[in-house]
Amino acid sequence: MTQATVKIQKVLKERSVRAYLNRVLFVFIIVSLITFFVLPMLWLFTAPFDASPSLHLEMPDWTLNNFREMVENPYALRSIGNSFILAGGTVLIVLIAGAPAAYVLSRARFRGRDTALYILLLFSSIVTGSAAMVPLFFITLQLGLIDSYIGTILVLTGGLLPASIFILKDFTDTIPRSFEESARVFGANSFQMLRDVVAPVIRPGLAVIAVWAFVNVWSNFLLPFILLRSPSKSPAAVVMYSFYTDGGQAIIRVIAAFSIVYTIPVLLAYLFVNRRYGFRFYGGIKG
């Protein structure tokens, strides 16, 4: 054997050892990841079907009685409907108001545009926090929108618009301007151009924002708790905290059954959007 072939064999052997180690590391990482993410979720798939669920994980004594008990609660199912109204309404307004604004901000360069966007992004963090709850309460009260879905939807929209516009603007920045220029040449007006050229191209961005806003509203507790006064209008996030006995004991059977019923819509929304449009940022968001 020449020295060269010995050397080549040595290199090849080293490579295969390294490839093997890489493989082991890869499998180890994947398994740990899945364990880390799935382990805390298991309760959600066992407790609702357990005859005597508790706040720890155990093999269920299978039953569907928890769901019967949950359905008998007058507010439970209605609250899911209320959550749909709030989340659906907010998503609609965020998209209708946010997409054109994001487009304009992407194409027309106003002085101080970036700074304005950042300041709005910052303001949205106070407004969704608890200190602004009292001002928000008075503003909606004065506008006559307290205890109304539309008032709550508008407040939720105000909190979500800056981040939505920020993300959508980045999506739009990645579209070549020539698309719209050729639409212009063929005589499209601004609205047609937005609807027929821009919207289809940024559709994945719209889908991402829709799911993100939906999930946010679906889980928001504080705003609907403060702005919607009648229990019959309360969304699921608020009603979930009403499943307690008069003595203040959590009724785990109802909470467990409700948890899964309350989670399934967001899961379906994600799966639907992911299948139809792909839930990815593609080129979007690079600041």
């Binding site: 720890h56 194409r107 027309a108 950042y118 407004v127 926090g129 001002p135 503003i139 990815r280």
Partner: protein, 305 residues
């Protein structure tokens, strides 16, 4: 660029030969709906909150009827309030641990690890990570109580030990919780970033004999820096203002998990000290502003280079 052309470009970016893509009139009309909503439900309450921070407004007692302007008193009080200073410290640790080092690194690691997997495995892994992100907060609370609480918590059962995680390691518990909760966003963004690296760069580097690590460091990271900075900015701000840990630990034990939003909640809505709570919110805003400017500056530097 001279001053005159700069002014011409003030409102609309330089039109390309085919003409302006959107007229000034439609640009303004399209901004109206967002502007109205943002003015009424975002800017007005935010400014109102900032003004309340200058008063001694409370929801009960004499000050409820006629709040007085107290100038900067709330702010000077805050800076000597050990509970507030503690909440700043807790928040910094929470943000660094769970967002900057937790979500951003783990999210990137997942995106990097699964980038070449078959689509069906890839979607399965993405699904579990995203599920942790979209399950409603109140449900997530119960899941993590079942995970960590008491001797029969899932983690204790598996490890065969008896640790009161929320009492003995409160901050660590909410950090791990928040990594679990929020990694999806960083994973999605990192995937998008990795997809944006031209494959030819990677091939060239590989032909030149670069190792995985070298490719990551010298080719991939420099070309996706912009994405990573945006990601860090958004998750830092979101985590700083996140209220969910309160649902798990209520700020305790002994203030060890009392982040700034929890502190504001306690002052404003539990003790009804609205003036003081609002002043703290203003300070939080100022801190967020500094963080945003820091990221903005590094992203500009990055764009320039």
């Amino acid at each position: 660029m001279n001053k005159e052309t700069e002014e011409k470009q003030q409102l609309l970016q330089a039109p390309s030969p085919a003409g302006v893509v959107v007229s000034r009139k439609s640009a303004l009309i399209w901004l109206i709906p967002s502007t109205i909503i943002v003015l009424a439900f975002l800017i007005a309450p935010a400014i109102w909150t900032l003004i309340l921070g200058l008063t001694n407004y409370r929801l009960t007692g004499v000050e409820a009827a006629s709040p007085q302007f107290v100038g900067l008193e709330n702010f000077t009080n805050a800076l000597t309030d050990p509970d507030f200073l503690n909440s700043i410290r807790v928040t910094v640790l929470f943000v660094l641990g769970s967002a900057v080092f937790g979500q951003a690194l783990l999210g990137f690691l997942i995106a990097w690890t699964i980038r070449d997997l078959a689509p069906k495995y890839r979607s399965a892994i993405e699904l579990v990570v995203i599920l942790a992100w979209i399950i409603p907060s109140s449900v997530v609370t119960f899941l993590w109580i079942a995970m960590l609480n008491g001797p029969e918590g899932t983690l204790n059962t598996i490890l065969g030990i008896d640790t009161e995680w929320f009492l003995e390691y409160p901050l660590l518990s909410i950090i791990v919780f928040n990594i679990w909760r929020g990694t999806a966003f960083s994973m999605l963004l990192s995937s998008a970033a990795l997809a944006s690296v031209p494959p030819s760069f990677l091939q060239t580097a590989r032909l030149a004999g670069a190792s995985n690590w070298q490719i990551l460091r010298d080719v991939v990271l420099p070309s996706i820096k912009g994405y990573l900075i945006t990601n860090l900015l958004l998750i830092t701000l979101w985590t700083f203002n996140d209220f969910t840990p309160f649902l798990l630990t209520g700020g305790g034990p002994g203030g060890k998990t009392e982040t700034v939003p929890v502190f504001i909640y306690q002052e404003a809505l539990r003790f009804l000290e609205l003036g003081y709570g609002s002043a703290i919110a203003a300070i939080a805003l100022a801190i967020n502003f500094v963080i945003a400017m820091f990221y903005l500056r590094s992203s500009r530097k990055n764009a320039a280079s």
